[in-house]
């Protein structure tokens, strides 16, 4: 099964809070059958202990070690929030990437994401697109082995 599909991408979302954004990312994973609803609680709990903000407008909420049992299939969801949502201190998140991983099958997507986060322009491209395929292709393209 593909790690990321159109059903796992939500464009042009408006979030009222960080928690709201995490729930959106988690609900996509639930609806796509990747995780049990309890996993979303784990994502919220994890965020309370340590922020998953990665920089340049990207956050990667995911569950805690114990929540691995609530994952059925590895999946990654993307919530695009053009207006952004305050994540920590002065930082706003515009791309909220929900992660549920059983093993390391998602290494390609996260390697791509690491590249995207490095450059503000890359993030801007994905925050502005109106085509979910642009996001999917950027995050799921083959990466050079390092």
């Amino acid at each position: 099964m593909a790690i990321i599909t159109a059903a796992l991408v939500r464009l042009n979302a408006v979030a009222e809070s960080k928690e709201d954004a995490i729930k959106m990312a988690g609900d996509l994973l639930v609806q796509a059958g990747r995780v049990a609803p309890a996993y979303v609680e784990g994502m919220l709990a994890r965020e309370r202990t340590m922020s998953t903000y990665m920089g340049n407008g990207v956050a990667i909420p995911h569950g805690e070690f114990e929540n691995r049992a609530d994952i059925f299939e590895t999946g990654i969801s993307v919530v695009q929030i053009p207006a952004g949502i305050v994540w920590e201190d002065e930082e706003r998140a515009y791309l909220v990437i929900g992660i549920a991983a059983k093993a390391d099958e998602h290494i390609t997507v996260l390697s791509n994401l690491a590249e995207v986060v490095e450059e503000e322009e890359n993030v801007a491209l994905l925050v502005q697109t109106t085509d979910p395929q642009v996001i999917i292709e950027r995050l799921d393209r083959p990466v050079e082995e390092v």
Binding site: R46, T49, G55, I60, G63, E64, F65, A114
Partner: protein
């Protein structure tokens, strides 16, 4: 006495986080690229949940919120803490020490 490891004996560096499924994986990727660029592609870089660290981890990097746990789970390792997964100052310190052939010494 601070923990240290001689440059020539570094074989494995581990980035540790809580669940081992997100942040540490992204951070490990960046260190792999930096090591490759500096010509140290033979050094293995992996990611792991802090609680699952194994004895072959010579250098362990973890978020400051987990550094006490990293220290207790890997008492043998050279440990570094950082604030931001995408901006880890210890990366430069490690690579500079490797290039100079010096010991990598814990902060």
């Amino acid at each position: 006495m601070a923990h240290s490891v001689p440059a020539a004996s570094v074989k494995k560096i581990v980035i540790a986080c809580e669940a081992g499924m997100g942040s540490s994986l992204m951070a490990a990727n960046k260190l792999k690229q930096m090591l490759k660029k500096a010509g140290f592609q033979d050094i293995q870089v992996t990611h792991s949940p802090v609680r699952a660290l194994t004895e072959d981890a010579q250098i362990v990097l973890s978020h400051e919120g987990l550094s006490a746990m990293a220290r207790s789970k890997a008492p043998w390792a050279v440990c570094f803490a950082f604030k931001n997964f995408m901006n880890i100052p210890a990366y430069d310190k490690i690579i500079n020490a490797l290039k100079a052939g010096e010991d990598i010494v814990e902060d």
